[in-house]
Amino acid sequence: MVLSTVVFTIGVFGFLSRRNIIIIFMSIELMLNAVNINLISLSHYLQDLRGQILAFFVIAVAASEAAIGLAIIIAFFRNKATAHVDEIQEMKG
């Protein structure tokens, strides 16, 4: 569990501090992986398979989140030609 916490914290740090939006998405994947490690280790120690089922759903959600996020990045990149979050300043509405 401590391992999972450490990985999650690194993910949070990367999420808050990187400039490149792709690395930020990778940090999100890192956090989801930390959650998975926690779920599966607890499922092992409690001898219960439900944790692994939950890890399945986390993997499915991570996959769809990556697909949607990268599609947003591509659409954004076509308009602005940058991948840095501090250059994204304008909003409408």
Binding site: E29, D48, I53, I68, D86
Partner: protein, 170 residues
């Protein structure tokens, strides 16, 4: 002794690799370190008697998501990326926040108590095979969440196509 040694190696490697993932300047290097990280996490799952999840981890993450990430990295101008600094200006705030969260979670872990043991002991899983036990549970108790997950994947497919499609002329 040997299991502790194994776990220590994997824990150390996972922490080191995840730090490498978020600190490399070149996004391609980041993605490749992440590949190694996913392999280590899959081995950790094998070590925790979760063979099927380990395989799914390898196929979905290493095979699917990382390829997507590599495609997206191809869009970034790497020369410019190597020139500018990799963190935003307010990175000490992020670090402080992350360390504070870490301490809070560590404190809350101390008050954690294990629940009661489930029925899926290692002997039962060995007798029935892991995939069979998992499938039985997934298609009976967790049928509705399973269907909802398929719906989420459908939404992801349609959403990705709609978002990344070029607008048609006229």
């Amino acid at each position: 002794m040997l299991p502790e040694l194994f776990f220590a190696y994997f824990a150390f490697a996972i922490v080191l690799l995840s730090i490498l993932v978020i600190t490399r300047k070149n996004p391609v290097h980041s993605v490749l370190w992440m590949l190694l990280l996913f392999f280590h996490i899959a081995s950790l799952y094998l070590f925790l008697n979760a063979e099927f999840i380990a395989l799914v981890q390898l196929i979905v993450y290493a095979g699917g998501i990382l390829v997507l990430f590599l495609f997206a990295v191809l869009l970034v101008n790497i020369r410019e990326e190597l020139r500018i600094s990799r963190f935003i200006g307010a990175w000490p705030t992020g670090l402080t926040f992350a360390i504070g969260l870490f301490i809070v979670i560590l404190i809350s872990i101390k008050s954690f108590v294990l629940g009661q043991q489930g029925i899926y002991t290692i002997d039962l899983i060995k007798k029935e095979s892991h995939i069979k036990a998992l499938g039985k549970l997934l298609y009976t108790d967790f049928l509705y969440p399973f269907e909802i997950a398929s719906l989420i994947l459908l939404v992801a497919i349609i959403g990705a196509i709609v978002l990344a499609k070029r607008r048609l002329k006229g």
